[in-house]
């Protein structure tokens, strides 16, 4: 029996979250097979084959995989699953995985296990519930187990050194009922939020989108990604993809700096596994201080520039 990993990629590079899913897949036993769906001429299959621990890459090409819909991804994935011997289908719990995997699971009559943080046995998983305020240990009785993986809970596999074979498979016919008709990607030269070593996040305390620029100088100094609380996103200070929390992104960097963030439960759910947490807030009673390793009570408009300057010393 093998484990099928559904790959997510962009511009010829596998998502770091997919490499974490590979690590989880290798803990399940059996050969790890990676399913790569791409537009024709994309070199991504070669990148997948270079991941150590992958036995085989299944590569399907079709023009519509340039902007994959859950419908098209599920159709080809289900074909691949039907033609192999799989005990598990695994993907990272990113917006791509969350969108496509339940569609695959339902067709397999499998009850998906979402967002696992540990594998106790090939059929037994630990996953957060209630915004990470509790952890459930669950056992799946499905013959093919469909699992999404919380990327921050598994170290990413390497991206080079592997020599998997590449099998080209046919893409399922296009599902015309859903089409991607537009994209607005946030452009940033910074590290990706979910894999950055340092994350600087701003909250409602920043007061405006303009004031988020304050965080940029600090982020530049630390080579950090910039995140935000839901309150800051709801207020329109920054785009939705900055949001860290239960329903946004889950991050676990070495250093998380929460600036002007009070620390609502749903925000803590997205960052409390960070190695070191710093909180800067003018309200000494803010809940964020209860989980911060280093809390600094003060006006962020004074503290942040001072912190940026201090890092130069």
């Amino acid at each position: 029996m093998n484990v099928l990993v559904l790959a997510e990629h962009e511009q010829g590079t596998l998502a770091s979250a997919t490499l974490s899913a590979v690590t989880a897949a290798r803990a399940l036993g059996g050969d790890v097979v990676m399913l790569v769906l791409s537009a024709p001429g994309d070199a991504i299959a070669q990148a997948a084959a270079a991941v150590p621990g992958i036995a085989r890459v299944l590569h399907a090409e079709a023009p519509w995989f340039a902007q994959p819909t859950a419908e098209n991804v599920a159709a080809t994935a289900l074909d691949a699953i039907a033609r192999g011997q799989y005990s598990h289908v695994v993907a990272a719990a990113t917006s791509f995985g969350k969108n496509a995997m339940p569609r695959i699971a339902a067709k397999l009559d499998a009850a998906q296990v979402s967002d696992i943080t540990a594998i106790n046995a090939p059929d037994t998983f630990v996953r957060p519930i209630y915004a990470g305020n509790a952890f459930a240990t669950v056992r799946s009785s499905d013959p093919i187990k469909v699992v999404t993986v919380r990327a921050t809970a598994f170290d990413p596999a390497g991206a080079s050194g592997g020599q998997a074979s590449i099998d080209t498979i046919a893409a399922a016919p296009e599902v015309p009922a859903a089409k991607v008709v537009g994209q607005a990607r946030t452009k940033s030269a910074r590290p990706e939020l979910t894999s950055a070593r340092v994350v600087i996040s701003g909250g409602r305390g920043l007061g405006s989108g303009e004031n988020f620029k304050l965080l940029e100088a600090l982020a530049d100094k630390l080579n950090a990604a910039i995140g935000a609380s839901r309150a800051a996103v709801d207020a329109g200070y920054v785009p939705n993809d900055y949001q860290v929390g239960q329903t946004g992104k889950i991050v676990a960097p070495d250093l998380y700096v929460a600036i002007g963030i009070s620390g609502a439960i749903q925000h803590l759910a997205g960052m409390k596994d960070s190695k070191v947490i710093v909180a800067i807030n003018k309200d000494p009673e803010a809940p964020i201080f209860q989980i911060a390793d280093y809390g600094l009570v003060g006006d962020l408009f004074e503290v942040v520039p001072a912190l940026t300057a201090e890092l130069d010393r």
């Binding site: 902007q67 859950a70 419908e71 917006s95 791509f96 969108n99 995997m101 339940p102 569609r103 339902a106 499998a110 009850a111 998906q112 979402s114 967002d115 037994t124 519930i129 209630y130 915004a131 305020n133 509790a134 952890f135 459930a136 240990t137 669950v138 056992r139 499905d142 599902v175 009922a177 859903a178 089409k179 991607v180 008709v181 994209q183 607005a184 990607r185 979910t194 709801d234 939705n240 993809d241 239960q246 329903t247 070495d254 250093l255 749903q266 409390k272 190695k275 070191v276 710093v278 201080f289 911060a292 390793d293 280093y294 809390g295 600094l296 003060g298 001072a306 912190l307 201090e310 890092l311």
Partner: protein, 252 residues
């Protein structure tokens, strides 16, 4: 067109959940229960579609115990026209809910089903996608904007890299993200009116769906505690500690 909205009864988002000491689950007795916040957004969106003249009827659906009637009444108070409770005492997995709703959709024949993208209790984020799969309908998940015209829905989705717009042919399934709308509060007259709106109860069995769980809950634990609460006096002390104590910054 007819719109179906799915609502789930969950522990209120303001309640700090407590894990039972025997590890059997979280404490639910004497705990405030409410409609899942993402489902409130789903109901609100359906009501707005009716206000724009797009939806003609809104049917609210909940699957679970008789207590879910309360959640359905809340949906009626927000503006749903009638409610259907699919009653069962079995703890339902998203797959089972998707099967029950799919069976109901085959009876009701709506053009659009709107659900919350996830419930804040199990955080599974599955039901809408599974429902779409079982019906062989297209799906538009994590919606932050929904426009309907000419038998199609244009949906802006919140994705990891930013925003994506998908066009799906109706009938379709849409799941809501936080910024789709801000749900209204139910007014007292509407709460009173809701009591008179029709509510139908069906058994899971009568829909011909096997809801036997595929996943067994073994135990529920508290998260590993985090020892926080440390304070620093100023920026100088903070940077010194990050360098020398936490060692997450290189030494000066």
């Amino acid at each position: 067109m007819k719109v179906l909205v799915c609502v789930k009864r969950v522990i209120d988002f303001n309640v700090k959940v407590r894990v039972r000491s025997d590890g059997s689950g979280v404490e639910t007795s004497n705990v405030k229960m409410s409609m899942n916040p993402f489902d409130e957004i789903a109901v609100e969106e359906a009501v707005r579609l009716r206000e724009r003249g797009i939806a003609s009827e809104i049917v609210a659906v909940s699957c679970g115990t008789a207590a879910c009637q309360e959640t359905l009444r809340a949906a009626l108070a927000l503006g749903a026209d009638r409610a259907v409770l699919v009653e069962t005492d079995t703890a339902l997995e998203p797959l089972a809910v998707a099967k029950l709703v799919a069976a109901l959709v085959r009876q009701e024949a709506p053009q659009l089903v709107i659900l919350g993208k996830q419930a804040i209790d199990d955080d599974a984020n599955q039901t809408g996608q599974m429902l779409a799969a079982l019906l062989d309908w297209p799906q538009a998940t994590f919606a932050s904007k929904l426009q309907i015209a000419d038998g199609k829905a244009d949906v802006t989705r919140e994705v990891d890299g930013g925003l994506e717009t998908v066009e799906v042919t109706l009938p379709a399934v849409v799941t809501t993200d936080l910024r789709l709308n801000e749900p209204r509060y139910a007014t007292l007259p509407n709460i009173m009116k809701a009591k008179k709106k029709p509510m139908q109860t069906l058994s899971a069995q009568s829909l011909g769906v096997d809801v036997t769980p595929h996943v067994t809950l073994i135990r529920v634990d508290e998260p590993a505690g985090r020892k926080g609460g440390g304070r620093v006096a100023d920026v100088k002390e903070l940077v010194a500690k990050l360098r020398n104590e936490a060692k997450v910054l290189p030494p000066a």
